[in-house]
């Protein structure tokens, strides 16, 4: 298993736990009368699961297992793949912090956190597609 795949898969496992813990917090909020801004964890919960866990696990396994691009360059661009890892994780962490922050202090000027997160995750998705497209081929 390549080093980058290990980073993708281990990060995805961390998000798996984080996603389910955020689900626990959401369920606890009405029981323990926790602050209302924690409801902003709803979209965070779903995206930690689908982007952090499911998609990132797929990204790592695809990088590892898909047909070789060329014999000299089997996984195409390693730097683009590392960029995907960095962008998706930084973007998702920013979202995880930004959603409750914006909900707790609306109008306080924290909207840029979500906007930056959006751009980073978008670039990660495009980088993954660009690096994977040429490896999807018949023999």
């Amino acid at each position: 298993m390549p080093t980058l795949t290990r980073w993708f898969v281990k990060a995805s496992l961390v998000y798996f736990i984080a996603a389910l813990l955020s689900g626990v917090i959401l369920a606890l909020r009405p029981v323990l009368d926790l602050p209302g801004f924690l409801n902003a964890l709803g979209p965070v919960y779903f995206h930690l699961f689908m982007v952090g866990w499911v998609s990132q696990l797929i990204f790592g396994v695809v990088y590892w297992m898909f047909p070789k691009y060329t014999s000299e360059n089997p996984r195409r661009s390693e730097s683009l793949a590392w960029a995907t890892w960095g962008l998706i994780n930084l973007g998702l962490i920013l979202r995880t912090l930004g959603e409750p922050l914006v909900a707790a202090k609306p109008g306080a000027g924290y909207g840029w956190v979500l906007a930056t997160s959006a751009i980073l995750q978008w670039l990660a998705g495009l980088a993954f597609v660009a690096n994977t497209w040429g490896r999807v081929k018949e023999r």
């Binding site: 047909p67 979500l114 597609v129 994977t132």
Partner: protein, 135 residues
């Protein structure tokens, strides 16, 4: 990688790029509002990423790597699998964009019905391929 897998996985990558683009617009708009119209991308964002990207990638990879039969056709009836992929793609597009194009009630139902039909055909195709080696 067989032809059907190439087509379905490449289609899934297109949906990933579009779904992430819609998602990025939605999230950006949440932080730094652009227009309320951006929220109308939400159904397309969800359908593209759940069904167009994730499900279609799974179908393409499963068709490729599930155990093959000893005799041709090695991957079973390819027509069933192709029909599943076509139904899935039409279903995703109808479910995502149908409500934009027509106010007719039931357009989402048509999209979801096509997606369910795709799932049924995929299961019919894949079920007998889930078998022990040499069977």
């Amino acid at each position: 990688m067989p032809k059907l897998s190439v087509w379905s996985i490449r289609a899934s990558l297109i949906y990933l790029a579009l779904g992430f683009t819609f998602g990025a617009l939605l999230l950006f708009n949440k932080g730094e509002p652009i227009s309320p119209v951006v929220w109308s991308l939400l159904p397309a964002h969800i359908d593209f990423l759940l069904f167009g990207w994730t499900l279609q990638l799974v179908i393409g990879v499963a068709f490729w790597i599930l155990p093959r039969y000893r005799r041709p056709p090695k991957r079973g009836d390819v027509r069933v699998a192709w029909t599943s992929v076509v139904l899935l793609n039409v279903g995703v597009l109808v479910a995502a964009f149908g409500p934009w194009l027509t106010s007719a009630p039931g357009v989402s139902l048509v999209g979801k019905g096509l997606e369910a039909g795709a799932a049924l055909l995929f299961v019919l195709h894949a079920w007998p391929r889930v078998k022990p080696p040499g069977a």
